[in-house]
């Protein structure tokens, strides 16, 4: 996908980062149009955080270049950073400060006038349910409260582009849903979002497009649905019985069209390229064993399946996908 220069929020060309002999990010290219929610996925150590660090000016690229809204992140990092809001992977608010002071400090670091910073501080603290505790030092906050504060700090400058690294990690379900809604709302208001996540459900629910990186190389950039279509050979049959058959995994794996059996709670997920053959074989097996099928489904490939197929990670090392 090529985006007109004036419509680009991010343009990455041949970006590379080496630490001695290790190539953490290897000659990657991609573009993110303005107003998109762009997901950046990959297993641990794939190069996600290194890429984000280069885009946000924390780390200098070894080769290649990147720009944010036309500002080169190396040559004009000041201009690029003025347009960014950043939620890092850790909740790095000043714990000796109150939430109020943290937001005021962040506003001052972006040169926002005091009155405006105060107004935004009040608004954000209320939005994240931190207003009542605004005068309490952050060291007494729970992990979830700190996370919310760090997100609020990233929003104080009303950035044109928001870099979010695992924004919902460690939060309760309600807050996760609130933050996803917040991301959508910001995006509707025109903010471009660069979302790094392990959570494939989140990426699937939020992102217009996703990029998958592995071993420092970009292996796919497309919409979640296009990626799923490309992985249609990864189909499956999900089945549950009213009682457990003897040696169920071995029994189901013996069905000739089944490539792999995954046990998930009381269900079995049979990966196959021929779901129709497998459904019939499972029905025959149930008949022979005197079992009743309590649930059966043939779901299409999930983004997690695509991720597993493209990155080549084994099921045992899946990176928390589908959380």
């Amino acid at each position: 996908m090529t985006v007109a220069t004036e419509a680009r929020a991010i343009a990455v060309e041949g970006l590379t980062k080496r630490y001695g002999q290790l190539t953490a990010v290897d000659d990657i290219y991609f573009e993110v149009p303005k107003g998109e929610i762009f997901g950046f996925l990959g297993p641990n150590g794939a190069g996600k955080t290194t890429t984000v660090k280069m885009l946000t000016g924390v780390s200098a690229p070894t080769a290649g270049k990147a720009s944010v809204f036309g500002h080169d992140v190396v040559k004009d990092s000041f201009g690029a950073k003025e347009l960014m809001g950043i939620v890092p992977d850790v909740s790095n608010a000043y714990v000796e400060y109150t939430a109020w002071s943290n937001l005021k400090f962040t506003g001052a670091m972006y040169g926002i006038p005091r009155k405006l910073t105060t107004a935004r501080t009040v608004e954000l603290l209320k939005r994240f349910d931190l207003y009542e505790k605004r005068k309490v030092k952050v060291k007494t906050y729970s992990m979830g409260m700190r996370r919310k504060l760090v997100i609020a700090m990233a929003l104080i400058n009303q950035a044109k582009i928001l870099f979010m690294d695992e924004p919902t990690t460690g939060l309760d379900v309600q807050t996760v849903l609130d933050i996803r809604e917040l991301i959508r709302e910001l995006n509707r208001g025109g903010t471009t979002v660069f979302l790094t996540t392990h959570n494939l459900t989140e990426a699937n629910a939020l992102c217009d497009r996703v990029a998958i990186i592995n071993h420092g190389k970009l292996i796919a950039v497309d919409t979640p649905e296009n990626l799923k279509r490309a992985a249609e050979n990864v189909q499956s049959v999900e089945v549950a019985f009213d009682r457990q058959p003897p040696e169920p995994v071995e029994r189901l794996r013996s069905i000739s069209a089944v490539a792999e059996v995954q046990k998930s709670g009381d269900k079995f997920r049979l990966l196959t390229g021929k779901p129709d053959t497998v459904v019939k074989a499972v029905a025959r097996m149930a008949e022979e064993e005197g079992l009743n099928i309590s649930f059966i489904d043939t779901p299409g490939p999930s983004l997690e399946d695509v991720f597993v197929q493209l990155t080549g990670i084994s099921d045992a090392t899946r990176t928390g996908g589908g959380q």
């Binding site: 924390v58 003025e82 670091m109």
Partner: protein, 255 residues
């Protein structure tokens, strides 16, 4: 020029943000135990240990007390703050904010300078008001105090480049340097009474020149000409700051 690093508008923006960092550092780190202990309590008791029971007027010791207080206070903020910032990863906030590393270093240095200046005023006022130290040159007194605080703050910034997230590690190295510097600087023993080799050693310590300037400004005997002490303190300040900035730049490139 509008957006370039050299434009006055941009420099003004970054200067203000550096001051925001300085104020934040003072608010957060001046009450940290290592700062209180090594920046305020230790120099005070060290002075008491040397001057209680000593013959001669206490006013002879006031310049030394002011110099020691400034030396320890100004050089303490950055070396204590930086490891905490690395540990909590709050240092990354500067790297992602619209401010260049050179201005961040400036802000950190200003914090030490302001803290050192404020702490130096306390023994100075005690000396003048309580013990009747006479100010013979207010200008030299002010310049010596400010320049000394700046020089020692730059020294602290230099030690803050040690790449560790444990404040204790930096303090160990810092005190390994600070304590010998303190004892060879003519603060406790007048330079005139020192043997030649000791005076030679004293001449490579910035504390020697601040102490000498303070003595001069409070009407006591001095060893060096005022202009020479000022010049050498300036050179130390530039050297400390230059090397600190260079080391921060190098570590930035390695990230």
């Amino acid at each position: 020029m509008k957006g370039s690093a050299l434009s006055p508008r941009r420099a003004w923006k970054e200067f203000r943000r550096a001051l925001v960092i300085a104020v934040k550092d003072i608010r957060i780190y001046c009450l940290k135990p290592p700062v209180l202990l090594m920046g305020i309590i230790f120099p005070f008791f060290l002075f008491l240990a040397f001057y209680v029971g000593k013959k001669g007027p206490i006013t002879e010791g006031i310049p030394g007390l002011v110099a020691i207080a400034t030396f320890f206070a100004a050089s303490n903020i950055a070396p204590v703050g930086m490891p905490f910032e690395r540990l909590a990863r709050t240092f990354e906030r500067y790297l992602t904010a619209p401010i260049t590393i050179s201005w961040v270093v400036f802000g950190k240095t200003v914090a030490g300078f302001l803290f050192g200046t404020v702490i130096s005023v306390i023994p100075l006022l005690v000396g003048i008001i309580w013990y009747g130290s006479a100010v013979s040159s207010l200008l030299v007194l002010i310049v010596a105090t400010l320049l000394g605080a700046l020089c020692f703050s730059c020294m602290g910034t230099l030690f803050a480049t040690i790449p560790t997230d444990a404040p204790g590690n930096v303090m160990t190295v810092l005190n390994f340097i600070r304590l010998p510097v303190l004892f060879m600087s003519g603060v406790f023993v007048p330079l005139a009474t020192m043997p030649g080799w000791a005076r030679g050693l004293a001449s490579v310590s910035p504390l020697t020149y601040m102490n000498d300037l303070l003595r001069s400004s409070l009407g006591l005997s001095r060893h060096y000409a005022v202009w020479l002490s000022l010049l050498i303190l300036c050179l130390f300040t530039i050297a400390f700051y230059g090397v600190a900035l260079w080391l921060f730049m190098i570590s930035r490139k390695r990230m």
